[in-house]
């Protein structure tokens, strides 16, 4: 198997930032807040670059959907070793309403257009935690999927995927082309070294619109309200196990 891998990367609020809900409860505050590449997307990029280094594939193409700032995320992937980028331009209200269904339609269209042999995505984004885009993309393409991958091996024109599931680990063999979604233990993403950042400046990023790909990005969902989780109440410190048993009995839990 040699050819092109498509990797989707999402620009999300940085994991270390303290999230605040807007006063009108419509969404979270994003203005002036630090953003970075979704950690699972970093793992996806790393896996693709490793495959290229092992000469299993020829080209890593990185895709991100969003406003102009999405290009920063693409550049980071280029600095990690991706070859070129595609920025799907989605702005304003369209961007606010962009969800897994629309993104997977875009990914499917690009996978066909770029004749990709493999699509690698992060298992989920840390902002909406949807965990749907990979699965939907595979369904739209009618391709096999290896989700929650903690190990991926190419065996001829098939792929062996070790998946992290509730009961432990499941190993499956799937045909290619396929969609893989990266889980935490798949790899440890490399740092973008300064020489690679310099090289990334010269790599190409193409800009397209969803309409150019024949994709309708109207949302079928409407977010009604966003609230903060309830504040955690203070706990009670107890002296002895007997006290604990009493308290639990009081609360009716035993």
């Amino acid at each position: 198997m040699s050819g092109r891998v498509l990797v989707g990367v999402k620009r999300v609020i940085d994991y270390a930032v303290k999230i605040r809900v807007k006063p009108d409860n419509s969404s979270v505050v994003t203005d002036g807040v630090k953003h970075s590449m979704n950690p699972f997307c970093e793992i996806a990029v790393e896996e693709a670059v490793k495959m290229k280094e092992k000469k299993f594939i020829k080209e890593v193409v990185v895709v991100s959907c969003g406003p102009q700032q999405a290009q920063e995320t693409i550049r980071t992937a280029l600095a990690m070793g991706a070859d070129r980028g595609i920025h799907v331009d989605v702005t304003g209200k369209d961007y606010d309403n962009l969800g897994p269904l629309q993104v997977s339609k875009i990914m499917a269209a690009l996978a066909k257009k770029e004749e990709a042999q493999l699509v690698i995505l992060g298992k989920q984004a840390i902002d909406d935690d949807c965990n749907q885009t990979g699965q939907m993309t595979a369904a739209l393409l009618d391709w096999p999927q290896g989700t929650f991958a903690s190990e991926v091996t190419l065996e001829g024109d098939k792929m062996k995927v070790v998946r992290e599931i509730d009961g432990g680990l499941e190993t499956i063999k799937i045909n290619t082309p396929a969609v893989i979604t990266a889980d935490l233990r798949l790899n440890t993403p490399r740092y973008a070294t300064l020489p690679n950042i310099m090289k990334a400046k010269k790599k190409k990023i193409d800009k397209v619109k969803p309409a150019d790909l024949g994709v309708d990005i109207t949302s079928r969902l409407e977010v009604l309200r966003v609230d903060e989780p309830p504040h955690r109440e203070a706990g009670v410190k107890l002296e002895t196990v007997a006290d604990l048993v009493d308290k639990l009995k009081e609360a009716g839990t035993i």
């Binding site: 550049r75 980071t76 600095a79 740092y191 973008a192 070294t193 300064l194 020489p195 950042i197 310099m198």
Partner: protein, 372 residues
Amino acid sequence: MMREAVKKYAHERIAPFVSKMDEHSAMEEEVLKSLFEQGLMGIEIDPEYNGTGSSFFSSILVIEELAKVDPSVAVLCDIQNTLINTLFAKLGTAAQKEQYLSRLSTDMIGSFCLSEAESGSDAFSLKTRAEKHKDYYVINGSKMWISNAEHAGVFLVMANVDPSAGYRGITCFIVDRDTEGLEICKKENKLGLRASSTCPLNLDNVKVPEKNILGEIGQGYKYAIGMLNEGRIGIAAQMLGLAQGCFDHTIPYTRQRMQFGKRIFDFQGMQHQIAHVATQIEAGRLLTYNAARLKEAGRPFIKEACMAKYFTAEVASLTTSKCIEWMGGVGFTKDYPIEKYYRDCKIGTIYEGTTNIQLSTIAKFIDQEYDH
């Protein structure tokens, strides 16, 4: 993006070792290795020699970010990039560049040897002597306060080939670490910047071939001044990062610590002090970046570089001193990183040109400016 990458790297790969390196007065091998891996030791070196191929300004940003986490690591990176690499890149013959630049960007550290026990600010009165014999020189003397010496693979030694010519005899020699007669003595036990090795050097009949002269004979004094003018901006970046790093550790504490029913940050006395320090840091930043830009644009920059180094060293002193006060008792303990910044900053007013030297140089330029 470069700044972000270095910030992330420094936070994840250097921060965990800072305390240990300070206590043991030793640079961690892992840190040295990763600095090279990240391309931080050859920032301006051409990719032809495995360098990063970036600009002087990038070096300044890198040094600033590293200094926020550990000024000792920053100075290692600063000396390599602004002094050693630049000297080789500007003055090296094709053969010298071939031999050294690739190593300097991938795994070899360099040391710059000018100061001696009897000559610091009065650098050109150095006594290390290089005697010519046919096609080689024999160097005798000793150097002091040599940074990076513990790990350096190559030493740029300033020695005088003709004391009767005064400073016009000073010549720059490339001396490899394993050269017979070169002794790297025990490192100093310092107040601050402890992870950065600072050693005396003894040169006892060190034989150096003629081809190891960097640049031209008798021009060493010029090279030294030239490089130190640039290195000055690097040190300014280090002091700037130091001040900012210390400040960044302190403010969260002032926002959490409650006394008399409110955050200590909310007391007007505190707010005024904090705002004053923040403004000083910002001013130092602008002086540093401006000096860097002037240098990159090929414009005169020496006065501005002196101002940047002098000012940021003072700001670092002020900031670290205030930060300890704002942290109260905990600022005084080694459990918190603040006291280390306080100890580290003092050298800023001393090395690579003392504050008094900087001020005299600035005055000299002002005098010239009003000549017509």
